[in-house]
Amino acid sequence: MNETQANTNTAAAAAAAAGAETGMRSQIEARFRVAWPGFTLDVDERLPARGVTALFGHSGSGKTTLLRCIAGLEHAAVGRLSFKGSVWQDAKTWVPTHRRPIGYVFQEASLFPHLTVLGNLRYGQRRSRGGSASNSLGKPTLAITESSADTDTDTDTDSVTDRFSLEQAIALLGIGHLLQRKPAALSGGERQRVGIARALAVNPRLLLMDEPLAALDLKRKQEILPYLERLHDELEIPVLYVSHSPDEVARLADHILVMDEGRVLASGPLNETLSRLDLPIRLGEDAGVVLDGQVAERDEQWHLLRVACCGASLWTRDSGAEIGAHVRLRILARDVSITRDPGHASSIQNTLPATILSLGDDSHPALLLVKLEISGSPVLARVTRRSADQLDLAPRQLVYAQIKAVALL
């Protein structure tokens, strides 16, 4: 597990000294400085080269610029960039964008208007070495050619490639019926799906997505999000996902990098970062955490679902998810209260044993954020200072967390 190294930006320096050698091959190391009038990007980060890492922040925070630096689209950037040990940029190296093994999804799909959907998909596929030579049928095969000690410019052929064919991209994004159309004849959502498939068809080793849903209305977002979740579930390709949408981050991200005014505020595994008390990172208006779970049981009579999550069971409203489905749960701090005695009757369905990890300030002086651990997973609870005092809450104490509401994402 390398994500502990990527925990905070201060830890990055320590990680550089220790254990960096082993971690390098599974990491993206990015150090960039861009100074424009009125905006400076100053980033020195290690990101895990697997799973979905959300670059989160409001507009103007520099997240898109960071993504463009990683793609090699910002020539003004000075710094150093390496991906799984191969250097893409440093003082004497500059791998041009078309030689970086990336796939890039733009905010507007940016399809070529003079080509059909199929022409767009083939454009990159034909030009990526091995793209057309790769297996065109069946499941992705793992082509392991980890032999070459990466030279600076050899970025296309080395290391593990999850071979991805055009057919798979078309099937995954459900665009088979659109292939002969011109982009002008597609809806916004369809265009964006083609844009994602086009990026996948080049067999990228790193997928960069710049707010792929931001230009779409809510309905189109709902249309594409399931495809992105499939991407997340089915592909081994690491994804850097720029977003300012709390909902998308909660649904898709494994890691999060929070940016503000060109700097990194926090970075680390999603849940660890969301449950930090020293620097409350909020997805949306309220503090809370996101947990992974699996639907375990359906209670037809009460229209409830039991979700196995963090070694415990949580009951939530029946959203129609199938038994066995992997789901994400969002638990807001305001929906979690703390009791020392689980015995008495309560309207709250989910009461779980928890350990208090720490207590921290909240947005109002009357309130307190409590970081709990429920079978290894951090959960935030919000209580008043007075009740904390009355219950005599303190770290390492064993209590019961009463979870009033769980949102299935």
Binding site: L73, T97, H98, Y104, S110, L111, P113, G124, R127
Partner: protein, 225 residues
């Protein structure tokens, strides 16, 4: 015969001159238009102004400078002489060189506008799809700028057909070599042969109208793409 032998010769020469000039300008003007459209250099302004000069310069001024440059004592003339080509003024190729300069902005500006209209994004998208810079130019920039090229080609061709002052300065009036249609009409009027002038003028009028009609019919279609 409705048009005389010399009329047909003049028209044929005019069309040849316009075609050769347009072809040369496609090759020469496109890189200049690309550079002007993409550069952030501080030379963009001055170079753009130089390219646009023939739009405002009296053709006789341009013709005069070209005549001096290509003449026996001019730098271009001395170069062509050492190369064994001889002197360009009063030859067909002298006219071509002059026309290339004279029609330069009519090629460069529409193409430049078309390239600028594409914006950075499609080229960036192509770069992320493994296309090298040259590849991007041919596979993305050229097809997307195609309407601009059509406009530029038509304008350049028509403008070359219509030139007069530069031709007189550089080419003079040699039948079959430099006597283009516009000069021929001038000759007729000088000789008070108004009937002949009328016929050729009518041909030019119809031709110009058809060219512009093609341009205006094409353009709305181009915008829909």
């Amino acid at each position: 015969m409705w048009l005389t032998e010399t009329d047909l010769e003049a028209i044929w020469l005019t069309l040849r001159l316009a075609a050769v000039t347009t072809l040369i300008l496609f090759v020469v003007g496109t890189p200049v238009a690309w550079w002007l459209a993409r550069t952030r250099s501080r030379w963009k302004g001055p170079i753009g102004a130089v390219v646009a000069l023939p739009l405002v310069l009296p053709p006789s001024v341009l013709g005069f400078y070209l005549l001096v440059a290509m003449g026996p004592n001019g730098p271009v003339g001395q170069l062509t002489q050492t190369l064994g080509i001889g002197l360009l003024p009063f030859t067909f190729w002298g006219l071509v060189v002059a026309s290339v300069f004279y029609s330069f902005p009519f090629m460069v500006q529409p193409v430049q506008n078309a390239f600028e209209g594409i914006g950075d994004r499609p080229l960036e998208a192509a770069a992320t799809l493994r296309a090298s810079p040259l590849d991007r130019f041919f596979s993305v920039a050229l097809p997307l700028a195609l309407p601009g090229f059509v406009t530029a080609g038509i304008l350049t061709f028509a403008h070359t057909v219509g030139e007069f002052g530069v031709v007189l300065m550089i080419g003079g009036n040699i039948p079959g070599v430099t006597r283009v249609a516009s000069v021929q009409i001038y000759d007729y009027v000088e000789a008070l042969e108004y009937g002949n002038a009328h016929r050729l003028a009518a041909v030019m009028l119809v031709f110009s109208f058809l060219v512009l009609l093609a341009l205006y019919v094409w353009n709305p279609g181009a915008k829909k793409r």
